[in-house]
Symmetry: C2
Subunit: 345 residues, 2 copies
DNA sequence: CTATATAATTGGAACGTTCCAAAAAGGTCA
DNA sequence: TGACCTTTTTGGAACGTTCCAATTATATAG
């Protein structure tokens, strides 16, 4: 039942000054003389005063809270993304509401509305599958800066930060082709996300550029998770003229595919080449180390947060769309001829 | 920049009632007549009114925000823990500040103090390594309920929710002994955490109960991460009379140990038995599926959140210590046939 | 129709801050 | 000394809610 905490007027009384002066001290205003500043600060420590940010933002109608909504925290890509955001948000003196939508648009809506009630200064949203631009229309119109990350949200008048999914997927498939693969699968993900679409487009175009005919049976949908990867592989195994390589929607799927291969007595990276997408931390240490398209989730989180803070501070939210470049990191899971067996670095 | 949003008095004016009445409608008070309730609600929707929770909690000096501090979000154990908390917190109408201390006590201190300024109703803390009970003393004394999870914080007058590390470790080692193993290692973790201490104690006691002499060389410290597991295994490999099995501090370490074994041409679950701890989601689908002590992180998060909410609502924070029971889940990674030491050399 | 109970509504103070205009306190100079 | 700066300090209104006591409207009984 939080007993009444000491307020600005308590310390004003104790220090024998007005509450206005105490307020000035708190905001480190140069208007207050050195001597009173010290006196006031002494009493602040003395009484164990705690600043009430809620009251402050009520008055100035601007808060130091940002909302972050992520669709799946248990996916390490998003966890790292969140950590990156956390870093810059915290050090800018903000604090974050971090919520997990679990891919549910209903949940997402509730969460966003709750954040609005709590007066966020801005929002970073990695939209749940099926999110419509209308879902955040009201928020945007109320003048609160919004940055959409990872997944595109067509039609929304907001800033976005996406990785170059198309180029990354294309580079990955080109690499597999250069390694001599002709039958290449695309595994994991569902039709209706922009990320899936872009990566698939990169896959298709790379095949086309190499004059390899597309085989629709090689495109295998599944949940974008490790378990999904296992399931996808099971379906792939059934195909008569089985592919020899796959680009996976993300690293989680890629790991699942590795698991599935082993369960079927195949060795990932030897009997079947795999490339992931995202470059989560485990990609480097896994065995075989995962060849993947690195999108640096933590860095991306940082950039997203910076973008948001810039908009909050400038007050003008002109929409800005950033596509961050990606980089193919060749490790062992694609069976590249670069054989450096004992390279533990 | 948030332009002046519409307030309770705006809708009062529009509906031709007093702001008090609107307030009553908002809190679903039975005192207001059906007809005016409808009228007011209509105007609320009409004007796109958004409740200002900050103003409300200023007045009633009790907020709907809980703080959650977790030491490492990129570790899926903690990510799942956070998701579990999120679920119950959200559905109780609260919203959460979720922060990541990254095992830094300084960071943790900043974060907690920032949460206090923002007026949290309670805090769930998974303390960073090296946290002292004095670090949360002020918070506790101010009457804000605190629940400490996962790691113990001796001396703090707070409720705690821990898993039964001792019993879990003991059961795991007993299982390995029953499988015929005599040389059993304990891998991963650092001396100074309570979790490490408890699990190690379970390990020691299980060995002692079976009259197996302890060998201090078999206790291998490392970071509690996948990379740490790889490193730990490298050190284990060097030991002359190498163990044939290991209990790992957690699943992340166990996966790292698997990686390391493969890199050394050994097959986890065949040439070497491994048991993890935590039962993160990937444990089930990994190859080999990981035998592990299940602590159900998500469920634990839920229980922690429920405990906190109970304390917030009852107003009395009598400290309560819950030890959640754990369960050994036998999968494939421990299925090693027993080998005599000379065969291993 | 009055008296009385009950239901519904309301004004205003309060929560802890910021911000503004205005006042007080010092200095400087003629 | 008074006039005029400059530097500090200060009341009081505001932010959007809740809560209380008090008021008004409505129903019920005599």
């Amino acid at each position: 039942m939080s007993r009444n905490r000491t307020s600005i007027v308590d310390i004003a009384r104790a220090a024998g000054v007005s509450k206005s002066t105490v307020s000035l001290v708190l905001q480190k205003s140069p208007l207050v003389s050195e001597s009173t500043r010290e006196k006031v600060n002494a009493h602040i420590n003395d009484l164990g005063y705690i600043y009430n940010r809620g009251a402050a933002s009520l008055r100035q109608s601007r808060s130091k809270i940002v909302g972050i909504v992520v669709n799946d925290l248990t996916n390490s890509f998003f966890a790292e993304l969140a950590v990156g955001m956390d870093m810059v948000v915290q050090s800018a003196g903000y604090v974050q509401f971090l919520a997990h939508s679990g891919e549910s648009v209903d949940r997402q809506r509730e969460v966003i509305s709750s954040m609005r009630e709590n007066g966020i200064a801005g929002l970073i949203l990695s939209p749940a599958r099926g999110t419509e631009s209308s879902d955040i229309k009201a928020l945007v119109e109320s003048g609160i800066p919004v940055v959409v990350v990872v997944r595109n949200l067509p039609g929304a008048k907001v800033s976005t930060l996406l990785s170059d999914n198309y180029a990354g997927a294309k580079a990955a498939v080109r690499h597999l082709i250069e390694l001599g693969h002709q039958r290449i699968a695309f595994m994991g993900g569902f039709q209706d996300t922009a990320v899936f679409g872009e990566r698939l487009r990169g896959y298709r175009d790379a095949l086309q550029d190499a004059d390899i005919p597309a085989d629709e049976r090689f495109i295998i949908h599944s949940a974008p998770s490790r378990a999904g990867g296992v399931a996808a592989l099971e379906r792939l195994i059934g195909i008569a003229e089985r592919p020899s390589a796959a680009l996976c929607l993300n690293d989680a799927v890629a790991f699942g595919v590795c698991d599935g291969l082993r369960a079927n007595g195949l060795e990932p990276g030897k009997s079947f080449a795999i490339i992931g997408f995202d470059d989560v931390i485990e990609a480097k240490t896994a065995v075989p180390a995962l060849t993947t398209v690195s999108v640096d989730p933590q860095g991306m989180g940082q950039r997203a947060a910076q973008l948001l803070l810039k908009q909050i501070n400038s007050g003008q939210n002109d929409q800005e769309s950033i596509v961050t470049s990606v980089r193919l990191v060749v490790r062992q899971s694609c069976g590249a001829p670069v054989k450096q067996p004992e390279e533990m670095a």
